[in-house]
C-alpha cells in the first residue's frame, strides 16, 4: 500500500486551521473573561505553547524519525505499558474531539440553524468528518489548499472593515489590574491551543520531510498568533468591556460592519469560514485518533475505525457537555493540566521507562 504523504506547506495549513478552527471562537472570549484592556498581551502565549509543542516534536523526530506518538510510546515503554499509554493518548484525543464536535454543533445551532436539532447537525458533521478521514490525509490536505485563496480574499476584508469602528482608548489603562489577570488569560491559549500543535507528531509517517516538523510548528504557531492577535485587538477595540457579554465576539464584530446599504451581514461569510476550519480541525483530530487505534490494534489500515470513532466523538460531544457553560468549564479548568500531562508527561514517562528497561537489561546481561 502506497504511503500517503503531505508537503510542508500542506502541513502548515492544516496546523493553522487546527488552532484557528475553534481558537477564533473561544480564545477571544476566554481571554476577555480575565482582562479586557490588556487582552492583547495574553495572545502571544499561544506562540509560547506552539514553541513547547515544537520542542517536543524536535525530541520526537530526533529519536523516532518514522514513528507516530503512539508508535514511539510502544517503542519506549514496551508492549504492555506502551499499550496502556496508547489507550490514554487515544482517550485524550477522543475527549478533545468531543469538545471540538460540541463546539461545531453549538456554533451551527446558535448562529445559523436555531430550529434544527443538535443531533441532526451532529449527523451532518460526523458524515463530513468521517468521509474526510476515510479518503485519507493526502487528498484532504490537497483539498485544504483550496481554502487559502478564499481566505486571502475574505480575510483582509473582514479585518479592514471593522478597523473603521476601532477605538484605541478601549486599550487604556494599561495594566489596570497588574500581571495576574494577563497570566490567567494566557493559560488556555498556551496549554490548550498551543499544545494542540503537538497532534502533528501523530502524522509523522505521513510527512514528506518529518525532520522539518518543529520548524513547521513554529511557523504555523506564529501565523496563528498574529491572526488571533488581530482578532483580539479588533474585538476589544470595537466593543470594549461589552465584549465580556458576547458568546461569539468575532461574529458580533463582523455583524456590526456596515457600509451604506450595500455591504452588510458579512457574518454569513464568517460562518462558512468557521465551519470549514472546524471541520478541518476535526478531521485532523479524527485521523490522529484512528491512527492511534491502528497502532494499538496493529492493523495495516485505520479505516475500519473511522465510522465508529467518528460517531462516538460527535455523540459523546452532545452528552458530555450539555450546554455552553459545561463545555467552557471543561476547556478552562480541566483542559490546561489535562493536555499538559498528556503532551509532556506521558512521553516523559515513556522515555523514563525506556531508560529503566535499558538499565535492567544491561544489569541482567552483566549478571548472566
Amino acid at each position: 500500500m502506497r504511503k500517503e504523504q503531505i508537503s510542508r506547506y500542506q502541513l502548515i495549513l492544516l496546523l493553522i486551521w487546527l488552532t484557528m478552527g475553534t481558537g477564533v471562537l473561544v480564545i477571544p472570549s476566554v481571554i476577555t473573561e480575565f482582562t479586557v484592556t490588556d487582552a492583547w498581551m495574553a495572545v502571544p502565549s499561544l506562540f509560547v505553547g506552539g514553541l513547547l509543542s515544537a520542542g517536543i516534536a524536535r525530541v520526537h523526530v530526533k529519536k523516532f524519525p518514522n514513528l507516530r506518538v503512539t508508535g514511539a510510546l510502544l517503542a519506549t515503554a514496551g508492549s504492555a505499558i506502551g499499550n496502556v499509554l496508547i489507550i490514554w493518548y487515544v482517550s485524550v484525543v477522543f475527549v478533545v474531539g468531543t469538545v471540538v464536535a460540541r463546539e461545531f454543533t453549538l456554533f451551527v445551532t446558535m448562529v445559523s440553524l436555531p430550529y434544527t436539532s443538535e443531533t441532526a447537525v451532529a449527523v451532518i458533521g460526523c458524515a463530513s468528518v468521517a468521509y474526510i478521514a476515510y479518503v485519507g490525509i493526502e487528498s484532504f490536505a490537497r483539498a485544504n489548499e483550496f481554502i487559502v485563496p478564499l481566505a486571502a480574499v475574505v480575510l483582509p476584508l473582514l479585518i479592514l472593515l471593522p478597523l473603521t469602528l476601532c477605538d484605541v482608548h478601549q486599550f487604556y489603562p494599561v495594566f489596570s489590574s497588574g500581571w495576574l489577570p494577563v497570566w490567567k488569560a494566557s493559560i488556555v491559549s498556551m496549554f490548550v491551543y498551543g499544545l494542540e500543535f503537538s497532534l502533528a507528531i501523530q502524522l509523522v509517517p505521513n510527512l514528506r520531510s518529518p525532520e522539518k516538523l518543529p520548524n513547521d510548528i513554529v511557523i504555523a504557531a506564529s501565523i496563528s498568533t498574529v491572526l488571533i492577535l488581530i482578532v483580539v485587538l479588533l474585538t476589544v477595540g470595537v466593543f470594549g468591556y461589552t465584549v465580556r457579554y458576547l458568546q461569539y465576539p468575532v461574529l458580533e464584530l463582523i455583524r456590526v460592519v456596515r457600509i451604506g446599504r450595500f455591504i452588510e451581514r458579512l457574518d454569513t461569510i464568517y460562518g462558512i469560514a468557521v465551519l470549514m476550519t472546524i471541520i478541518s480541525k476535526l478531521a485532523v483530530i479524527h485521523l490522529a485518533m484512528c491512527t492511534g487505534i491502528q497502532d494499538l490494534c496493529k492493523t495495516r489500515d485505520y479505516r475500519w475505525a473511522v465510522l465508529p470513532t467518528g460517531t462516538a466523538m460527535f455523540v459523546g460531544g452532545l452528552y458530555f457537555y450539555r450546554n455552553v457553560a459545561q463545555m467552557a468549564y471543561f476547556i478552562e479548568h480541566v483542559g490546561p493540566s489535562y493536555l499538559l500531562f498528556t503532551v509532556v508527561g506521558v512521553p516523559l514517562l515513556g522515555l523514563t521507562l525506556q531508560r529503566v528497561r535499558f538499565h535492567l537489561k544491561r544489569r541482567a546481561r552483566k549478571g548472566g
Binding site: V95, K184, I187, F191, I293, L296, C297, K298, T299, W304, A305, P308, T309, T311, A312, V315, G316, L318, Y319, F320, R322, Y329, F330, E332, H333, V334, G335, P336, S337, Y338, L340, F341
Partner: protein, 55 residues
C-alpha cells in the same frame, strides 16, 4: 513462516463494538440529565489546573 496476529483482530472487533456501544449508550443517556461521565477527569485535572495555574 509469517507470524499471524492473534490478539489484533479480536481487539479490533472489541473496540469497534465498544465505540458503537458508547454512541448508542450516549443516545440513551439523554433521559438521564445528571449524566456526567467526565466527572473523574474534572475532579483530578480541575484540581491540578487550580493548583498549577490558579484558575
Amino acid at each position: 513462516m509469517v507470524k499471524r496476529p492473534t490478539w489484533g483482530p479480536i481487539l479490533v472487533w472489541l473496540l469497534s463494538v465498544c465505540f458503537v456501544v458508547i454512541a448508542y449508550l450516549a443516545l440513551m443517556f439523554q433521559w438521564w440529565p445528571d449524566f456526567q461521565p467526565l466527572y473523574p477527569l474534572e475532579l483530578v485535572f480541575g484540581t491540578a489546573t487550580e493548583w498549577l495555574f490558579g484558575l
